[in-house]
Symmetry: C2
Subunit: 140 residues, 2 copies
Amino acid sequence: MTNEVETLSNAITENGYRLTAARKAVIETLVACGGHVSADQLAKRVREVAPQVGRMTVFRTLEVLGKVGVIRPIYQGTGAAHYVLMHKGSHHHLICIRCHQVIDFDQCESGDLTQRLGQKFDFQVQSHLLEVYGLCKNCR
Amino acid sequence: MTNEVETLSNAITENGYRLTAARKAVIETLVACGGHVSADQLAKRVREVAPQVGRMTVFRTLEVLGKVGVIRPIYQGTGAAHYVLMHKGSHHHLICIRCHQVIDFDQCESGDLTQRLGQKFDFQVQSHLLEVYGLCKNCR
DNA sequence: TGCAAGTTTGAGACTTAATATCAGTGATAT
DNA sequence: ATATCACTGATATTAAGTCTCAAACTTGCA
Ligand SMILES: [Mn+2]
Ligand SMILES: [Mn+2]
Ligand SMILES: [Zn+2]
Ligand SMILES: [Zn+2]
């Protein structure tokens, strides 16, 4: 069991939800494919491993994981929401507005910023998403 | 005509698209309500002023505005994508994961960061979106 | 001005995504 | 064992997004 799976699982149990077999399957599949999938894409993959798991359960598990703050739906212009992992406290993208390529990056010095914001707005910061838009190497 | 309307209109014409009456109506309505609306919400409002404008035209105008970089669809967990204005080069949110309140803020010292990123990844930065998630004053 | 080529438009049909229901299962506590 | 409540998944329904096509409009050029 990878560390990510553990983090997501713990987030479930620590918030009073039950870590059922169906939810385990959803979490493991989501982590295995590194996020960036839609609910229906994920449901399809989950059912390759655990065919009994219904589509609704996938949607509901994603909802719970979002509620406890370890994943986040983002809009990628494909109709369906895609989910990214927030378990490290942040997620960062460079997105080309022409070819729609998404480049992940980890380094982000915005920790200070988010802390200051928290104070200013009396807000308990848990995580953040930074998306930078523009043109990639190939597209300009 | 407000400055925002002008910026969005110019983005249309400067990229070789035509600034038609229908597109003007969409832009004016979008700016008038400050963004943060879904395509269908916007279509409804546009038709209060310009009843002949079809739903498809609203979707297509939003697509064009996105392509030229002055608006951006975001996912707010409500099913439909919502559109925010990026004409100032950035957009920032504090979002409560419990009550889903969205607090806008303008100050963002991440200009440096995005510039460095641009160099590192050979990426021409145009704009960015920063969303900070957590619990608002009332929700903790 | 008259015409051709290309863009934009809007009605409607259609596909896909998301949500609501509800009876049934499984876990938990007493 | 029983009562209670969370969870599940099939199905139905609604909402959101996309596709198509003929008509209208622009624009550039003869
Ligand atoms: Mn990512
Ligand atoms: Mn905003
Ligand atoms: Zn690109
Ligand atoms: Zn709140």
